[in-house]
């Protein structure tokens, strides 16, 4: 059963005779007599299309129908309307499978577009987003979500800000007049944790860290943005040494920026810490690894995506995705109870859950997430259908009773005759499809 939330076309009453103009037909029978069944059927179909799609359908020369809002689509929805949305996004430059499932990739494309055109970033396709989609130019989505970390200027006029920046500052309570007069709005006096979700996301997009926000270090967020830029430049320079050009993905998220994103997205669940991370080139990876295990060890074992020594995560610069640091940093925030459950016999549940949270966080901040754990993502998405994404999130960050509930929800979702051991046995051995088939 499709879960698309859309306005269903209502049957309309035939026009009242008193409202019909002289000589004009005013019932279906009149029309059928004059024009024939086929013509009337075509007319009705066109009218239904207008009702279903409102402004996004091409103009139809049908009798004027009452304007009906286009369908609101959100993550989790399925059906032909979603497939049409995906087709439209692909025409704009996205690369989505037009399968009618509103998953995280579709959400990422939608949030990227929203962010780019200045529509409220929600991941939900509402009337404003439909308008943006229908008016965007082909190819405009390709650049979305990439290269967003621009160097900040010390103070630029309101009109000189990008649309997104103006929107973010507006979310934080500024307007053109207060910007000119440098009068801080009410939101700027609140602690970072007291900001709403939308305000936190806006602050992070503007370059604030929770610390710089609370310290009111710089109202233009120049310090934080400069720190991000500096970290990124250092990593890119390092990458460039090896390959002669940057091998980091466009819009790469460094650890400082990752922490701000996580704080904005999940700060209400747990205190986000900054684990030690070092991004190394291939030769540095080999040198460090061989330093511990002897010459030639890395050549035998590598290339490695990373390793950990004495609490420091060493990450290979050449296998970084835009969201690698967000993903690895999320691991460090997980509660011990969650790890005990999700890493019981293998790490698949842990990786899948961490990846889903990574997608959630980076797409909410205008980045397009990568796919590193497609099988594990599918597994945990299937588990979440028996419980919920929210419950998984609480279990991962808070542990305790939330882990117990999450596991109980999933166990209750097993098909008759399937046990947890059978389910787990499948995914532990990489038989993800069989594991998912155990669930209702």
């Amino acid at each position: 059963m499709p879960r698309v939330h859309s306005e269903q076309p209502r049957a309309r009453k035939p026009g009242h005779p008193r409202q019909a103009r002289e000589g004009k037909p005013h019932t279906l029978h009149d029309l059928q007599r004059l024009a024939g069944n086929a013509a009337v059927t075509a007319l009705i179909e066109e009218r239904l299309q207008v009702q279903r799609w409102g402004a996004i359908a091409p103009p139809v020369a049908a009798p004027a129908a009452a304007p009906v809002a286009p369908p609101t689509l959100k993550p989790g929805d399925t059906g032909p309307e979603v497939a049409s949305l995906q087709k439209k996004l692909n025409e704009l430059g996205a690369a989505l499978t037009e399968d009618g499932n509103f998953g995280w990739r579709t959400k990422a494309a939608v949030t990227s577009l929203q962010s780019d055109v200045g529509v409220k970033v929600s991941g939900t396709v509402d009337a404003d987003t439909w308008t943006a989609i229908t008016t965007a130019k082909a190819g405009s989505l390709a650049a979305v979500g990439l290269g967003r970390q621009k160097r900040w200027k010390t103070w630029i006029p309101w009109a000189g800000l990008s649309r997104q920046q103006r929107q973010d500052w507006t979310t934080l309570g500024w307007n053109a007049a207060t910007w000119r007069s440098k009068t801080p709005p009410t939101a700027s006096s609140k602690r970072f944790r007291a900001l709403t979700d939308a305000e936190r996301a806006a602050a992070v997009r503007l370059g604030y860290t929770p610390a710089s926000w609370d310290a009111r270090r710089d109202v233009t967020a120049a310090n934080a943005a400069a720190a991000y830029a500096e970290e990124e430049a250092r990593a890119k320079k390092k990458a460039g040494k090896k390959a002669g050009k940057s091998v980091l993905p466009a819009g790469w998220i460094g650890s400082l920026h990752a922490r701000s994103i996580l704080d904005s997205q999940f700060g209400g669940y747990t205190k986000i810490t900054l684990p030690k991370m070092e991004v190394l080139t291939a030769s540095e990876m080999a040198k460090k690894y061989d330093g511990f295990y002897g010459a030639g060890s890395y050549a035998t074992d590598g290339p490695l995506e990373g390793f950990n020594k004495d609490g420091v995560n060493y990450l290979n610069i050449e296998s970084q995705s835009v969201d690698t640091e967000v993903h690895e940093m999320l691991h460090a925030q997980a509660h011990a109870d969650w790890k005990a459950f999700a890493k019981e016999n293998s790490t698949h549940v842990n990786e899948g859950a961490t990846e889903l949270l990574t997608h959630d966080a980076v797409s909410a901040h205008g980045f397009t997430p990568s796919t590193s754990y497609a099988d594990q993502d599918s597994l945990v998405e299937a588990m979440n259908r028996q419980s919920s994404f929210e419950q998984m999130k609480k279990a991962l960050f808070k542990g305790g009773a939330d882990v117990t509930k999450y596991k109980a929800d999933v166990a209750a979702g097993l098909k008759a005759g399937k046990t947890w051991a059978v389910f787990q046995g499948h995914y532990d051995h990489g038989r993800f499809a069989e594991a998912i088939a155990c669930l209702k």
Binding site: Y293, T300, D301, F307, G311, H331, A332, N350
Partner: protein, 89 residues
Amino acid sequence: MTEDALATRVMDLNQRAWRLIQADRTGSRPHADLRREAAELQDELNAVDLSELSEATRRRLQKLLGEAKTECRYILSDGKGPTSLRAAN
């Protein structure tokens, strides 16, 4: 060996390394046994050849192979060297 069979093989080897690491962390098995099994597993891991695979599959399996190899080395170093990201996090 077909690509699917090789993927299954690598997944199984990877899971064996994970079990060794878990046992090492919890101290649930004698360390000498873990060292012996880690050495055997290391030989098996080193014998896997991914060179015939497509680039995407090779990268995916190399990640699994690499973390298993690191975990074996970690056990063989008596916990003195680096370990995998999954074991540490």
